[in-house]
Amino acid sequence: MTVKLKFDRVTKRFGKGRLVADDISLEVDTGEFFVILGPSGEGKSTLLRMVAGIEPVDAGRIFIDGQDATHLAPNRRNIAMVFQNYALYPNMNVYKNIAFPLKMQYFPSEEIEPKVRDVARTLGITEILDRRVNQISGGQQQRVALARAIVRNPTLFLLDEPLSNLDARVRFAARAELKKIQKDLGQTFLFVTHDQKEAEVLSDRTGVIHLGRFEQVGPFSDLYERPATRWIGDFVGDVPMNYMPWTEAGAGGQLGFRPEWAEVTDTGTETATVQVSERVGDFSYLLCTMANGWRIYLRTLRSFAAGSEVHFTVNRHVFFETPPEDAATAPSGRPERLPPRPPAA
């Protein structure tokens, strides 16, 4: 495995204020599908734009194929990028859009035509080659943008939330297709999204970015099964992780578990009071309150009424050691989208 792309202590600040990249170092291997995951406004796109060369780097260096590309002009990096809005050239038809990168490389037109037709056939857009880009659907626009990226055979693809503008139904198919295209091309994809489902399905590795740093980098299953921090535990997964005060090997901290890691049985060792019960498919999701006031989610096949007591056993867990000075404020510092938890008693 050779390193395709390398961030070496990259720092980026917007204006004088916010750090969007805080001393980031990362290596992406050749042929890897790497997803940068994070909530909105965490500077994911900025990272991608720095790789593309359309956003200057404040400090640190970016290497592409082992060569310092930090100050290279975008047109000299041999990369392809799909922007969130696809940025199709409105004054050109679909064919000319796809042919544009080849023209910029001074390919003779008799070589351009077969290449464009070839990639159009792969993506199933041969019929719309003569159309204007505002006469085609969102899904087709996405394919055209992808075709334009693929056509000149770059070795590094940057994709900035390319699926977020699609309808849910189209998005599902486009996601699967994207993964197949990447495997067929065997090239490196750097993909930015805020949708963890996309990260889960597409990525070989995912890096979760938070406050300008990678909070955790690894296969998506690792993020879910073994979150490195409580922030990851809360961000990854449909519902935030559950926590209980815990002491392990003499260290104080919290025990974290996902709803499906706990089993609701009448002989369970822990007790909680059901606040809200939601039926989703076969399962009931129970929002419960523990004796210390902390809220947890449980999943069970049985039905419970609000106000009733529920017993459960935690079968699997992860342990977050809380430094003593943080213990008092541990439940704070959570992402805003979650309901606030009462502090530890």
Binding site: R49, A52, G53, I54, A73, P74, N75, R77, I79, A80, M81, F83, Q84, N85, Y86, A87, L88, Y89, P90, N91, F100, P101, M104, Q105, R132, V133, N134, G138, Q141, R148, R152, L158, N165
Partner: protein, 326 residues
């Protein structure tokens, strides 16, 4: 939707037809959804021709009055320019309709030995196209640069550009004339054009900055990533998209020059010819025939109309509007 809904525009009509239920039936009609209430759905939508209402009369009346207000002076110019002068200037009560039409005023101007009009028109056209073209050539890079600055800085810089327009032309025209005399360009089309450019350029830059700012930044970024150099990204990808603004900017600069008389008069070298506005001015101020001036005022509108019609297809750019999502 299963069945084609009635035109929502007309649904107000069906609401009128059923005064008992004012808003509900019209909404059902617009969405085409099935309604459980039997009586409402049984009534087919009623289509009304557009009504000639009192408010319509008022609207068209107002349009007529305003049109008359703006067109009447032009009609008067036409009247004076193309009727024998004994009916107009030398008559106590000028008629509202021309009793007789004539080309003689025009011919007098064309055949005049002193300040003939044909070279004037040629000079004016020359200068106007020069001003228009130069406004575009300088305007594109200037506006692009300004559009890429922070909006606050760009705004103050654009304001600074308008300083010449804020000062009275005459205060600038005289020192400039002196400069042109020194370099030996006094009275030449270039000297007139360059001076008028001072007035035209800020307007075109202002217009083009807005056009550039209206384009998504990612279009340029995409072109750069796709391998275009900066110049190609600007002239190959962005400039074609602001064609309507370019056409408007050219037209504006062109017309500004075509009408401009202060600079043109100060820079007028009697040894060569004057621009059309200056020549018309001279016709009124003593040495010429006022009626000839009026006739050529009328003629002066023709190139403007031709140019506007010619640029019409570039002025509307709806076909370029879409193409970027989000």
């Amino acid at each position: 939707m299963s069945s084609p809904p009635p035109n929502p525009d007309r649904s107000a009509g069906s609401a009128l037809a059923e005064p008992t239920a004012p808003s509900l039936p019209s909404e059902d009609g617009a969405t085409g959804g099935p309604t459980p209430v039997a009586g409402d759905t049984a009534t087919p939508p009623v289509y009304h021709a557009r009504r000639f209402t009192l408010s319509n009369v008022g609207l068209y009346g107002a349009i007529a009055v305003i049109s008359l207000f703006f067109l009447f002076p032009i009609y008067l110019i036409f009247l004076i320019g193309f009727t024998p002068e004994e009916y107009t200037l030398f008559s106590g009560r000028p008629p509202i309709l021309p009793p007789q039409l004539t080309w003689s005023n025009l011919q007098a101007g064309l055949s005049a030995t002193n300040a003939p009009f044909l070279p004037s028109m040629y000079l004016s056209l020359e200068v106007a196209f020069f001003v228009g073209a130069l406004a575009i050539v300088i305007g594109i890079p200037t506006a692009y640069g300004l559009s890429r600055l922070g909006s606050r800085l760009a705004y103050s810089l654009t304001t600074v550009l308008f300083v010449v327009n804020m000062l009275p032309s005459i205060t600038i025209a005289i020192p400039i004339s002196v400069q042109f005399i020194e370099v030996g360009l006094y009275g030449s089309p270039i000297s007139i054009g360059l001076t008028q450019e001072l007035l035209a350029l800020p307007v075109t830059v202002f217009l083009l900055v807005g056009a550039f700012q209206g384009l998504p930044r990612d279009l340029e970024n995409q072109a750069r990533v796709d391998g275009a150099g900066r110049l190609h990204a600007i002239y190959g990808n962005l400039v074609p998209l602001i064609r309507p603004a370019l056409a408007a900017a050219f037209l504006l600069a062109w017309m500004l020059s075509w009408d401009e008389s202060t600079f043109a008069l100060i820079l007028y070298n009697p040894a060569s010819s004057a621009t059309l506005p200056v020549n018309i001015f001279l016709a009124f101020t003593g040495r010429g025939n006022p009626v000839v001036g009026v006739a050529f005022s009328c003629i002066a509108t023709i190139p403007v109309i031709i140019l506007t019609v010619f640029l019409q297809k570039y002025l509307k750019g709806e076909d370029l509007a879409a193409g970027v999502r989000g």
